[in-house]
Symmetry: C2
């Protein structure tokens, strides 16, 4: 982890700068929505999705300024999804990374709008010519992101999760749910570097495979944290899933088997990117990291 920790920190710092720089600058009463968008974004997150964009882009020697724009777009989307998921009508969470959620710090209406604004901003950033001189790349990024986070991806996964509260889900259902809800945005983040680098289809496919296994490992680790972690460690409420009687990887498999599977998936993820040689070391490291993290 000696190599990963400073790399993560450096990428997070660069991502934070990009996230702040790309935020609209407004005067007048409407600046409140940008304040809420900023609050929701500049929140000390790990910036895992930006890191994945930067790592995948570096495989194809994509100029860093371009990769950082796409990294910011992916993180805007992640932050929008958290703001809307935390709303009273959704998961009703007051705490996120140890701080009041956006609808608590502002109000519900502002939180809805801040999420809408972040989602829209992500597409504006991708479409802008500073992201790539070739418009086909920009349009490709727009479509890839939209597919990952719309009704067939993240939004559908969130709907699945809400609709499934009264259902008994098996392992296949939960795997599909998580692939939509959290996996699809990971897939975009990992594939984005290949799109930016105009890499051949087999390289794109390898990164999608990597992302699929990484995303599932990440989610199993999340369930383990919800099962074993503390509020102090995770900065959010824990044990909610069990209290809600929701099926999770841990409730279905037991903690030990869940941890074993998460580690096996991290190994599988690493194997998918072995083809890229030494350039893929950080991607391999991060696969292990998502399984072993404590928050």
């Amino acid at each position: 982890m000696d190599r990963l920790t400073p790399a993560l920190a450096k990428a997070a710092e660069a991502a934070n700068r990009a996230l702040a720089d790309l935020m609209p600058k407004l005067e007048g009463p409407e600046r409140r929505v940008v304040e809420a968008m900023t609050y929701a974004t500049l929140n000390g997150g790990k910036r895992l999705r930006p890191f994945l964009v930067l790592c995948s882009a570096s495989l194809f020697d994509v100029p860093r300024a371009r990769a950082l724009r796409v990294a910011a777009a992916a993180e805007y989307v992640h932050c929008y999804s958290l703001v809307h998921d935390d709303l009273p009508a959704m998961d009703d969470d007051d705490l996120r990374r140890g701080k009041p959620t956006t609808h608590i710090a502002f109000d519900e209406a502002t939180a809805v709008l801040a999420g809408d604004g972040l989602l829209t901003l992500a597409f504006e950033v991708l479409g802008h010519e500073a992201t790539h001189p070739d418009a086909r790349v920009r349009a490709d990024l727009v479509v890839a992101l939209a597919r990952a986070i719309g009704a067939e991806g993240m939004v559908g996964g969130q709907m699945f999760d809400l609709a499934a509260e009264s259902m008994k889900l098996g392992l296949a259902d939960i795997t599909r749910l998580q692939a939509m809800k959290t996996g699809a945005l990971f897939r975009f983040a990992c594939e984005a570097g290949a799109i930016l680098g105009q890499a051949p289809e087999d390289a794109r496919a390898a990164l999608r495979d990597y992302a699929r296994d990484l995303g599932l490992a990440f989610q199993i680790a999340d369930d383990l944290l919800d099962h074993e972690g503390t509020v102090e460690e995770t900065g959010k409420a824990v044990g909610k899933d069990a209290a809600a009687g929701k099926g999770t990887f841990v409730s279905l498999l037991g903690a030990e088997e869940a941890r074993r599977r998460a580690r096996a998936l991290a190994d599988d993820a690493a194997a998918h990117v072995a083809r890229f040689g030494a350039k893929a070391e950080l991607l391999k490291d991060v696969a292990r990291f998502v399984v072993e993290r404590r928050a």
Copy 2:
């Protein structure tokens, strides 16, 4: 109006088909979000924004299949904004076009997600190569839409509106508010045809000017309807602005002067597109229509 009425009906029919065709087809519990997206979209709306896209595209002989995709994207955005605006935390409206609003017909969480899904779908449709073979056009449409509806446009206008509830707004403030809240999406709809047609900048500017005056005329007419209309005519609650003590064009100008200004703006709008000759007749008609409509 003899020419406009059948043209509006024909365009609405084509737009409705496109809106249905482009909707994701899902199985599993997540299909509920597509049901809500469909409910929110296929609601008997006038399809004014699609009509503006189709009319502006016809100025430049854009193939109709392309224009219909952009028309659908603009309407998805309009419908998403209505779903989120109607939420209890926002305007708290139970009725829209005489039917229960989406969060009443489904539930609040589903309405939030349906709005998010529609917004995302709009960008997916624009970015897809079926919208235009030249990717620069697609990226241009994505950026133009995002700017129109983000924090600097529609979302900012909605924030302005909410934040201004405790403020005394003058005519300049309300004009700026409405230009953001409703005008910006009209501007996109009118400019989209020129983008699709790869028209020169002066043609784009003429359509933006048309849209600015049309949008303001539309909003003044909306205030007049809220002031004078009935629930039966408009299909939604009326008199809410006055009851909330909100400044409107009618409260600031009086109904008579407001109506005079709306008509003058419609004339100005028509003048901006006179340069396009006979091809612009429907755009001129629609400018008069938005002022004289009763719903």
